[in-house]
Amino acid sequence: MGIGAVLSLSHGTLSQEEVTRQLARGYCFQENAAKLYYLGLEPEEIIDLLPLDTTELELNFTDSYMVRVNDVDVEASSVSVKIKGPNSFTINNNLSLNSHEKNPGRDLPSIEVYRPTTRLD
């Protein structure tokens, strides 16, 4: 019983740490993607540039749009990150598929980032 409790506790804490790690990576990628957008890179370039593990995370940008603030217009986009569901306990492809269907993952709150429209043509 004691061994079972220890194993259960260990699994729980390790799972929590894994989720925490994924969250930290997700926030990190989201912030870096937002900063690269601010610096003038295009969304496709940013997705290509960042070392994303696509089995774990999904990074998306909305199409750029203009935001009017008083007398200026800035270009904006929303950066979203989706942390995909766990697949560590899948055994085969079918189970893995089922597991994803049951656990679609978690969306981090999207970030709206602005950039000045003064880039070179």
């Binding site: 506790l9 804490t13 929590q16 740490e17 925490t20 969250l23 930290a24 926030y27 990190c28 989201q30 912030e31 937002a34 900063k35 601010y38 935001v67 603030v69 008083n70 007398d71 200026v72 217009d73 800035v74 981090l108 709150p109 970030i111 709206e112 980032v113 602005y114 950039r115 000045p116 429209t117 003064t118 880039r119 070179l120 043509d121």
Partner: protein, 472 residues
């Protein structure tokens, strides 16, 4: 002996129990610490969301400030005070602009920044900005969380790109029709070449440059690499390039690489003509006789001569009706002292109308006087090339000049050019063709102006933005 020791069994049992209790106690402490660490880690990661939100809010506010400075301060000579409230947030930005355009600024930076286009000098005006950000997870200001009010200094800096090292700048034409633009000839650039709109520019095989950059290059532009001065192919210096401008044009963006600095009209602060009008100058027209001992002569039939050795020469604005423009350098003693003559700007602008078509520009002799030559042709005459030549036959001619050519195809007259090196100290900036002889024994060498002096004020500038955190 063994039996005797066995008689102390109660002591051994007590020690074992004590050891077991200690293991349990330490285990409990360790487990508690582990759970505490995990809990703290979770809390830390949860707070990332607020931290990122805060940092991006600040970034967004800075974007608004930069856009405001580009829109309201860069090209304006009016003092600005703007307040911006970020949509759907409680963040606020305040921009306090100066009342002097950076293109007209005569204030040199207190501390030179040895980076970027302003390497070595230039001018600046400053804009102070305040950023107030509101944290999502705290209603009140908590000093332990760091400041939520930032002061930043934005410096609008300006300097002639030619003086900064862009010795050959091929700009985009303002009008987008196919102009068959060429950069051609045995030209050696001992500095950087800036090549805008490269896909519509034909470049000759004998162009050599220490480095080059292609602003705005994208994947769908096929680039033919250039060779350096050692005759090796080199890659362009393309990243990073600051956004910069020579001033807005009537139709497009400030940052699209067009050249409209000689007489952009609309009281634009980057207008060379407006700047010269505020200095000592003489006005000449090719259709009127002018010879008043000021170093410039017009015969009234479209031929204008400029004597760069004359101590009485000031800035000259030639208002069109010019067929031929002759620049006469110095010789002998005057050449060796020409460095001490005041720098001058010679503007030939027939964009408002002209009876003649400018067809020849000749540079006779050699010149050591600091000189800016601005030539702007009427747009409907821009298709006709202008022949030019350096006529000195000494074999190692020195000509000190910054040449700005708008709507002007400059094509060298091979027969009028002697064999040897022609050393142009300064640079060339044009939005049309620039063609030189392809003869290997007739080399045009473009070198950087090492001692610009008053040229810093006279040469048309480019402007860009730098920002610094204000610490006090």
């Amino acid at each position: 002996m063994r039996f005797k020791e066995y008689k102390d069994r109660s002591k051994v049992s007590g020690a074992t129990i004590l050891m077991g209790l200690m293991v349990m106690a330490f285990g409990t402490i360790g487990l508690t610490a582990w759970v505490s660490i995990l809990s703290a880690r979770s809390e830390q990661v949860r707070n990332y969301e607020f931290q990122i939100s805060h940092r991006i809010s600040k970034l967004n506010t800075e974007s608004i400030i930069k856009q405001s400075i580009y829109d309201n301060c860069l090209n304006s000579d009016k003092r600005t005070f703007k307040l911006y409230r970020v949509p759907n947030k409680n963040d606020v930005a305040i921009v306090r602009g100066t009342n002097g355009s950076t293109f007209l600024s005569k204030l040199s930076p207190e501390k030179y920044l040895r980076i970027g286009h302003g390497n070595g000098g230039g001018f600046q005006s400053s804009v102070l900005a305040s950023i107030f950000t509101k944290r999502r997870n705290s209603g009140n200001i908590n000093l332990a969380e760091g400041p939520n009010h930032f002061l930043k200094n934005y410096y609008l800096r300006s300097r002639s790109p030619i003086l900064s090292g862009d010795l050959l700048v091929m700009h985009k034409p303002i009008n987008s029709w196919n102009l068959n633009r060429k950069l051609f000839g045995n030209i050696h650039v001992y500095g950087n070449s800036m090549l805008w709109n490269l896909s519509e520019l034909k470049i000759g095989d004998k162009i050599r440059t220490a480095s080059y950059a292609i602003p705005g290059i994208s994947n769908d532009v096929s680039v033919k690499p250039l060779k350096n001065l050692q005759d090796e192919f080199i890659a362009p210096l393309n990243f990073p390039i600051k956004a910069h401008t020579t001033g807005i044009d009537a139709e497009g963006s400030s940052y699209s690489g067009v050249l409209d600095v000689i007489d952009p009209g609309k009281s634009a602060p980057w207008s060379v003509k407006s700047a010269v009008e505020e200095l000592a100058n003489v006005r000449v027209n090719g259709s009127a006789v002018y010879n008043r001992g000021r170093g410039v002569m017009s015969d009234g039939s479209g031929i204008v001569n400029v004597d760069l050795g004359s101590p009485f020469l000031t800035n000259v604005i030639i208002g069109g009706n010019v067929k031929e423009l002759h620049f006469n350098g110095q010789s002998g003693f005057v050449f060796s002292r020409a460095d001490q003559l005041p720098a001058v700007v010679i503007i030939m602008d027939d964009s408002s109308g002209s009876s003649f078509n400018l067809s020849k520009i000749y540079f006779h002799g050699k010149n050591m006087r600091r000189l800016v030559v601005c030539v702007k042709k009427r747009i409907d005459l821009a298709m006709y090339p202008v022949d030019y030549a350096f006529t000195d036959k000494s074999g190692n001619t020195v000509w000190r000049m910054i040449l700005i050519a708008e709507n002007t195809h400059l094509v060298a007259v091979n027969d009028d050019i002697a064999f040897g090196d022609f050393n142009l100290i300064g640079g060339i900036s044009t939005d049309r063709s620039f063609e030189w002889s392809n003869n290997i024994e007739k080399r045009l060498v473009i070198k950087r102006e090492a001692s610009p002096g008053f040229l810093e004020y006279l040469a048309p500038r480019t402007a860009w933005l730098e920002s610094f955190r204000k610490n006090n």
